[in-house]
Symmetry: C2
Subunit: 764 residues, 2 copies
């Protein structure tokens, strides 16, 4: 009951029963999109516990001073109220047979079908189809087939645009112009309250009975924030009524319609509606499916043989990795829930650099570059944050939204179980490692792609500017060393710690990299050196970096070879964590202890020093990694969706294949698994990047180390073969791994590629 994996060989995720209390899961994991639009798969007929959601990337708005900017939930155009012989169609009424909902991740089509008998006994067979076009970013198309089974039926349809949607009660839009054109095309203009982004929503219906297009005679309803059309059609027993609905969204933020007035957008949308009407659902579905094939499946094919579920899981990850990424616009980035829900408000975190970027770098470098350009374009916010905190350089926000928004982490969340007051969220103030994570992403991108143009325009500056921040951030200690006090590391169960290993090592890396590039620019790219020196005073900065790198305190392993996570962790008390290790829902420990108490226990929300080993894997000896792994793995609750894939990849590196596979399976089920509930607020974007990392970095053994490509594959017992492609400095390599063999082919073949495979250097 619930999620059904019987058709995964056909790239289809199914739901085989309907539970009106558990709608969030499929709404999110079966959501549709194209990086511009994200549409939760809420059903056509409405339910009390539904969470409808339509998000347009980058259209951030701030509801009021008490809230942070968030991605607004746009007007809904997918709902359709159907009344069959006077009875409202709803799966909570009457009886439902043959129910399935299917997401075809290969074509991006959602289908739902059932045989429904109304409370009074009218029988209809219904099928609902829906796409968000990957070919036409602004377009949603729907098709509904209603077959009268054994009696004549009168179908009443009420359908249009509903602008009453909110983000958990916050209304981001002003009510605007509403129009019926030709008694057929419905249009609604909304404008975000603070950011003043205009949305032009347009929709039109087409009705067909037994293949004949019916003339539309709408009853029209215009109320506050909504505009609807009503149609009534009679069908005889055995006949099929088809309703198609074509919708489009244009906004004044869109680059592809830049400079158009609202009136021009309205006109354009009208034209779009007419074009969609003439194309029809099937043609729109077809061209979008072709686009999926070309843009995703041919571009970055991966194949796991030996386990169909694992194979599906990595494709499912790729499906969502395409939905979430605004490949069309460098002014926006990936939200922690993609575009599949209100969770994390559409904000971008370190997730992009550490968990998502590798996928795009290795499979779609153009899109990866957009993600990295975003960080450059959002420097104004990073400068503002640094200045606000009396630091220098670029201090990136922990949560990031529009380019100049700066820090947008909400200040309070959840409740303190002891005081009854909301908990203060410290990440926006002191989770500072994000700044070196951004620099690390720049470096990764540039080395793997060889995109020197990016570096010259943006990359060198970003690495210098972030290093300047770090030099200004350090504090002189009584021991003559420089320290980074009062931070939160990746392990958010520990607030206000000093000398967090991850933070200190990554800051050190950041400044080292800046010094390295300083020399490089001065020697090899004097013009760029001059420009950046003028802008950032590099010569002065260099001195600061040098001193800082020499004096920065870097935690060293204990006698037992355990790298201390921070200056307190190892001296905290141990408690029996088995209850929380076995939990079904994350965060159980916060129901028993408040954060202050958790701070006194050796317990981690997620991998902390382990992520450090993952990113800077060549600076720690194997025995430190091993001992630290054993210490921290036992104390990690994986209360973050980011944690599991890191553990899996590291377990691979350490030859712990069974454990690696176990963690991979767990990571793969975060959204795909049968648990109803955990995906309600949206999918876990980073975990999809993590799934790809488990497969290609972990079992596939791919890593960029010190600028070089290394492939050390090692398949889990369950797999017979793994094949994937990666793009290394512009050359697309096809890798095939079986139990005993590795083959790497250069599919591009325009440049020589040097790499190391299982310890042996090769040239392709």
């Amino acid at each position: 009951m619930g999620m059904d994996y019987s058709r995964i060989e056909d790239w289809i995720l199914r739901e085989d029963s309907f539970d009106p209390e558990k709608l969030g899961k499929c709404e999110a994991v079966m959501s549709l999109g194209n990086g511009y639009l994200g549409l939760r798969s809420a059903t056509e007929e409405r339910y009390l516990n539904e969470t409808r959601g339509l998000f347009v990337a980058g259209t951030f708005n701030k509801f009021d001073e008490n809230e942070v900017t968030e991605l607004p939930n746009a007007a809904d155009m997918t709902a359709m109220s159907l009344t069959i012989n006077g009875e409202k169609f709803s799966l909570t009424e009457g009886t439902t047979e043959d129910y399935t909902r299917e997401l075809n991740i290969r074509t991006g089509e959602l289908k739902r079908s059932m045989l429904w008998t109304s409370p009074k006994g009218t029988k209809v067979r219904l099928a609902f189809y829906r796409i968000v076009s990957l070919k036409r970013l602004h377009v949603i198309a729907q098709r509904v087939e209603i077959t009268a089974v054994d009696s004549d039926v009168k179908v009443e349809l009420k359908s249009g645009i509903n602008g009453k949607m909110t983000n958990t009660g916050s209304q981001h839009f002003s009510d605007g112009d509403k129009r019926f054109y030709d008694k057929r095309i419905i249009q609604f203009v909304q404008t975000t309250g603070q950011s003043k982004i205009d949305f032009v929503d347009t929709t039109v219906h087409k009705l067909e009975l037994e293949g004949n297009v019916l003339p539309l005679e709408a009853e029209v309803y215009i109320e506050k924030r909504e505009i609807f059309a009503g149609y009534t059609v009679e069908a005889e027993a055995g006949q099929t009524l088809v309703i198609e609905k074509y919708s489009s969204v244009y906004t004044s933020r869109d680059l592809d319609v830049e400079g158009k007035t609202v009136a021009q957008l309205q006109e354009l949308a009208l034209e779009t509606s007419k074009e969609l009407e003439s194309l029809g659902y099937e043609a729109l579905r077809e061209e979008s499916a072709r686009q999926w094939e070309e843009e995703v499946w041919n571009l970055a094919p991966i194949q796991i043989e030996g386990n169909g579920m694992d194979n599906f899981a990595v494709h499912f990850a790729q499906y969502h990795l395409r939905l979430m990424v605004p490949a069309h616009d460098a002014r926006m980035n990936i939200g922690a829930k993609g575009l599949s829900g209100e969770g994390y408000k559409g904000h971008t975190f370190w997730d992009t650099e550490v968990f998502l970027l590798p996928y795009y770098i290795f499979t779609d470098p153009k899109t990866a570059r957009k993600l990295e350009e975003y960080r450059y374009l959002s420097l104004p916010g990073a400068h503002a944050k640094a200045e606000h905190n009396n630091y220098k350089g670029a201090m990136f926000p922990w949560e990031s939204a529009w380019l100049d928004d700066g820090e947008v982490t909400p200040e309070y969340m959840d409740v303190d179980i002891l005081t009854g007051k909301p908990n203060k969220v410290w990440s926006g103030f002191i989770e500072q490692h994000i700044t070196s994570d951004v620099a690390f992403g720049v470096w990764q991108y540039s080395v793997i792609t060889g995109d020197e143009d990016y570096m010259e325009r943006y990359g060198y500056e970003l690495i210098m500017d972030t290093a300047i921040f770090w030099a200004s951030r350090l504090e002189q200690g009584g021991d003559g060393k420089l320290h980074i006090n009062d931070v939160v590391g990746p392990d958010e169960y520990r607030e206000h710690v000093n000398d967090n290993a991850f933070t200190n090592y990554m800051a050190h890396w950041n400044m080292q990299k800046a010094m390295e590039y300083y020399h490089l620019l001065k020697e090899e790219k004097p013009e760029i050196y001059e420009r950046l020196n003028g802008k950032l005073h590099l010569d002065e900065a260099y001195g600061a970096w040098k001193e800082a790198c020499e004096k920065l305190y870097l935690p060293t392993p204990t006698e037992e070879n355990v790298l201390p996570q921070d200056d307190r962790y190892l001296s905290c008390r141990d408690i029996d964590l088995s209850k929380y290790k076995a939990q079904e829902h994350v965060g159980g420990i916060t129901r028993d202890y408040n954060l202050e108490q958790i701070n006194q226990i050796q317990v981690s929300k997620q991998a902390d020093v382990l992520v450090l080993f993952f990113l800077l894997e060549d600076i720690f000896p194997q025995e430190v990694k091993k001992a630290s792994w054993e210490h921290y793995e036992a104390r990690t609750l994986h209360d973050s969706s980011l944690s599991l894939s890191t553990h899996s990849v590291l377990a691979c590196d350490m030859g712990e294949k069974a454990m690696a596979y176990d963690r991979f399976r767990k990571a793969a089920t975060i959204d795909l698994g049968p648990f109803m509930g955990s995906s309600n607020a949206g999918i876990h974007a980073a975990s999809f990047g993590g799934v790809w990392e488990c497969v290609v970095y972990g079992f596939g053994g791919v890593r960029m180390l010190g600028g070089n490509l290394r492939i050390n594959p090692s398949l889990p017992d369950e797999w017979t073969k793994l094949s994937y492609t990666i793009i290394w400095k512009g050359q697309k390599l096809a890798v095939e791994v079986t139990k005993g063999t590795v083959s790497v082919k250069n599919l591009t073949g325009t440049k020589q590629v040097e790499l190391e495979v299982n310890g042996e250097k090769c040239v392709l």
Copy 2:
């Protein structure tokens, strides 16, 4: 099925079946309140099509520039999610027997009970009780009884405060402070966005099993805009679990807590919670029921004998007339839907003066005075509107909200069926008769109550100031006459008409009354004359009034004795209106014709010249009334809830008793009747005043004419006896009417009362 009148003899309105598609009716007509709070009777368990609503009188807020100010829908505290043995309680699931919902209008208590069998077969008997206290204006109390019928049950309750409520999508509140005190008391602070009114919402639960109070151990949930407690209780077969929930609302607009800071309000609300907890539901219900007895039923008893439904209807009207009136605060007035829904946004119209005021004047003069003080206090808005339109004096807004808001009529509504564009609402611009309606209300109030203090402080000034407006409003015509061009009269199916009879005659009356009072003040109250002359330049104004009254064009009857509604009406074409006269839902004609077309047809939305005859009944001869009645009644669709009672009262005056009774019955069923749907957005406040007018003005024959009291009763055939009380110049008179007799007693007896009964002058 649906509304059930089997218990009306016990003052109880029932619903005998539950239809999840038709929730609005009972939510509105069974709503609870006390003039400060208005609470729609949405159920504890939630449904898709519910419209929850909690309104606090006078707390207007404007969502944004595109919208007008409206009464915001405050956070919900009545919802309770109940899970019984793991199954969510909902009447759309499982089976329900013995269902009833009952509103006791005598005590103001709502009760709902049923035997519910869950889909898996768990049987529980449930009873829900609820009051809004008439004794403690800030308080809502609820009680739920859950009896395990034949098996042990585990009950999970999730209940708290939900701040995600909106007004049809417009969110009026900033999210604010959320707190759990003692893991027991839940508090939530919201602040309106533009008007900056703080709301402190507080709630606390008490759980009892078989009479034993259970210790509360809440799981707490704090999210954006919501704060909830979760409780789990197990009951054995046969045991009854009782949940009581006590909630309070305080706002920074409240007079009774004026000057308190938010922190002080929070403290006060905490104290209130503790007091309510210790009192318990039964004591709160009891004291509130006593208050209903004293304040309403003993104050203004009415009894109709011979027809129980009519008797109930007038009590039902009185019930809602108490719910809707902010008797506690002169800075607010009655909304067109009372406090029972979002319809008309909580705004005050001419409904107050013409349809509602008579009830309060004759039964509760203190409250009537508050309503009239409101008009004085809102003069700043009226002055602003006049100035904005280049007129002088006080031009009252067609729709009125907070004192200095001025005109708040929305600019657009519905859709033009021809152009597909929203219709412009002209009332806010040109429905100008409201200004003389306000003056008329002042005069009525002062003459009937004899409240000279009111007149001296506010009344004379209001009548002068409104007359100054009218003198400045008139336009010189080519005929040497003054005209009032381009208005909407009470009949809103006719826009942009000239010389609307109602408008012109009432303007004339207004200026005449001002001239009369000018003389009176000058001669008898020179101090007041001096004060007002200084403020309003009365001497100058008097000249303008005199000329205006002489020259103002007053439409005269045709040869057929029909008073022309305006300069065009009688020359418009007639069409067959039978389709619309027979309609079940109002406004049918607007689906066939747009407003421009309707303007060319002899058709009326509501009584127009008939209202004029009703207000100024002594200036038109009987034959004009009769001929006009016949002409217009045939062409009136009663598409306004205000229309029927006017027709009924006039039919009484003309001796058309059968027709009068028919119209009365129709008026009485507007909200009380069995039609589901028409009350969704709230009850029809004016129609309740109209019901009282039908009874006391119409059949009871009471009228103030030229300053004198007249009682000409005439019972419909269906009634054997009618008794009621009215207060005339401070003396409470008890009137008893049977088929052949009229008796009037002075219950107060401190002053002589002169009146005319059935044409005979009497002195009591």
